[in-house]
Amino acid sequence: MLANYKYIAFETIVVKEIRRFARIWVQTLVPPAITIALYFLIFGNLIGSRIGGMGGFDYMDFIVPGLIMMAVIQNSYANVVSSFFSQKFQRSIEELLVSPVPNYVILCGFIAGGVARGLAVGVIVTLMSFAFTDLSIHNLPITIIVVLMTAIVFSLAGFLNALFANSFDDISIIPTFVLTPLIYLGGVFYSVDLLPSAGRIVSSFNPIFYMVNTFRYGILGSSDVNIYWSLGMLCLFVLVLYVICIVLLHKGTGLRH
């Protein structure tokens, strides 16, 4: 029996995933950078200068954490859903399924790939933000923990989507009709204080609202929510999604006939 085979298999999946999104960098790394740069320019710089302050900060400073988080969420999700579904579609996933790699190693490998792309885009967007504002970090551990946990949650969600998907339409429905509205209504561009009480209640059911605000706390030191409550919820999301994915992998849902 080969020693460390699980670690080698995990490393192989991660390297393959990183190689994939690096190979098609024009599709994976450039578009989010351009989109977020336009947000910085239009909402932060041009419109933001007329808005004035938000939540006690310059509008540009207020939206930077939200936009970084938006990039991380979208790219973690997109990487796993597109990569895993493409492998299902091309049947190259069979390479993994016939091999002795345990299900949890397969899942962790794809999640690590999603986190890698989410963080890569997050770093690009953060570096770009320096052109528009002087960013300083209020609480580095919270910032790192929340960005990592968020990337893991949305990588897991992308994996779940890919498991059930049977067509390319199926992998675009959730990002378009669920993820985008949740992100835009998750407090990226505004403080919850601006909403009427009904709006605040609705926002409290949006998980992205907690992630964005906890990350904003890490960067600016200000949040609309209790950060420990948010971190607890993030842990719960990771746990629940991980268990669901493992159970489905074990059952062979969408993979084995």
Partner: protein
Amino acid sequence: MTSAISIKDLHKTYGNGHKALKGVDLEVEEGDFFALLGPNGAGKSTTIGVISTLVKQTSGTVSVFGKDVATHIYETKLDIGVVPQEVNFSLFEKVMDIVMTQAGYYGLPRPLAKERTEKYLKKLGLWDKRNDRARMLSGGMKRRLMIARALVHEPRLLILDEPTAGVDIELRRSMWEFLQEINANDTTIILTTHYLEEAESLCRNIAIIDEGRIIENTSMKLLLNKLDSQTLVFDLREEIHLGAFEALSIERSRLVDPHSFEVDIGKDEDVNGVFQQLQEHNIGVKGLRNKTNRLEQLFLARLKNA
């Protein structure tokens, strides 16, 4: 000797209600070169799918080298290499990366993975293409790449599902030689094919599956002995006309054209009499061949009777 594969009462009913396997029993000895034949939809690929765990059986057991594939997942998967019927690698990846990645899935450390990748890409004539994207390869090269990928962890059992479909004759022959070489080095091989000549040339034992059941499971030699008669075609050196041919009075013979005739030869008969007749009339024979593939004849007869 241990069985490389032992399948007992294997059933598979798909979600749409289709019963693909209806109680398959099969034993393949270690070191064998085994043919699994059957018409389209007979259950060959489903059987292979269950062995390789891509298909979940409804009931029954599959053991590989004495270990149940459902309970000894790591050990059994390490022993199996699968070459599927259709291309199932990413067409956007480099040839070398595809094989190296598969080696990684089996836990091979990088230096060993590199060494094995080089070994099998060279053996299968793909080393010069190692840095090409897989989509640039011809159909035959893609099939060879799947064989290299299946062998990189050096399994004791290699399962090939139609490995030479759509491959030209020259390449097919070279793949046969390669498969015979690895079988000689103690790798058990199970082959499904539509080319019955391929099964006859390569395999020692054979099973025929039809409508989800094994209808024949024997050695190639015994199966071919069941053939009641075969039709031999004699190619002549010179032209012969119908009158002269009829004067030879060869039983159960027909003139095909002025340069050849065919004779039906029974299981217990020989062709000496035919040669004697030809010699007496000074007719030279340029060549002698079977009209049809013997296995094909048997295969069709067996399916008809099933």
